[in-house]
Symmetry: C2
Subunit: 152 residues, 2 copies
DNA sequence: GAATAATATTTGTCAAGGCAAATATATTCT
DNA sequence: AGAATATATTTGCCTTGACAAATATTATTC
């Protein structure tokens, strides 16, 4: 279709486009795995629970920064996740403005159900790369991230 | 901060998280470049115009698929971009259901203003990689994308 | 060739995130 | 100490995108 532009249409995607595509496939794959495992969580909620499980309790704003989510959006996600009994808002001991967000036992159980999903998706994504290439990919991505962040 | 979990917090990001971070930095950087060049476009609108400029006129649904945007969302983006005079909806010659979306001269001029922004961002992102590494990064990302899409 | 299925576009509805304002508390400066 | 500033959380408002339904047209099947 539209053969008159085929010479132009076959140009390779830029790194930027490629990264966007990979990201959306990763999100899609993870949400599919979660659903297939009976875990009713969206990608953002998965990230929040994962962060709490891996890094331990923290304030809502620390959590928001660490998953790159807006503070207001975080409040609403916490409302939902707390309403479902997956986490708790406790008072912060040193700072009365802040909260200490912590997983409940149910939240931890849920995390244990999701972590195999995460592993499967990452494994599937990297199945065409050997160990050396995986390390290189990570290294390149880290360098790209640093370059973008240091752009002064 | 939160020294009681430092041993866990210093774990490396997964490839998944890393790709998400790179993507959001790329979007941020591109939108900043556009704004600095006086081009009032969001990332999605940039993608649409770029696609039309590079691949030529196409139907709305082809365009939607090629930038991974929902059809309904595309209709509204086209409303906006057409309203600003950047593109036109023409009748499709072979298919009376469909449209032929094409850039206006203003759309083309705008594209010429944005393409240096795109180039600067991609160059900045890859400045810490040499030519070989850039090719490898692209190759790895393509293989990851294929692996995710072929997961049967 | 009529019936059925598929596709293109549009519109309505909803969920999610960004931004800004409001409030409460901490921190810094003088 | 007191004032000014910064940060944490919440809420309201707005934009965007996904999903589903509606309509128009094309493609396929019987």
């Amino acid at each position: 279709m539209s053969p008159s532009h085929s010479s132009l249409s076959f140009q390779k995607d830029s790194i930027g486009v490629l990264i966007g595509l990979v990201r959306s496939e990763l999100v899609r794959a993870l949400e599919a795995e979660l659903q297939a495992s009976g875990v009713d969580l969206r990608f953002t909620q998965f990230l929040i629970l994962k962060r709490l499980a891996v890094a331990g309790p923290m304030s809502a704003s620390e959590l928001a920064r660490s998953v790159e989510l807006d503070g207001g959006a975080m409040t609403r996600q916490l409302d939902q996740l707390e309403g479902r009994g997956l986490l708790r808002r406790q008072p912060h001991e040193q700072d009365r403005r802040a909260l200490r967000i912590e997983l409940t036992p149910l939240g931890r159980t849920t995390w244990e159900q999701m972590t195999p999903c995460n592993d499967r998706v990452l494994k599937a994504a990297q199945k065409a790369l050997d160990d050396t290439e995986r390390e290189q990919l990570r290294d390149y991505l880290e360098r790209v991230l640093t370059a973008l962040r240091d752009k002064n």
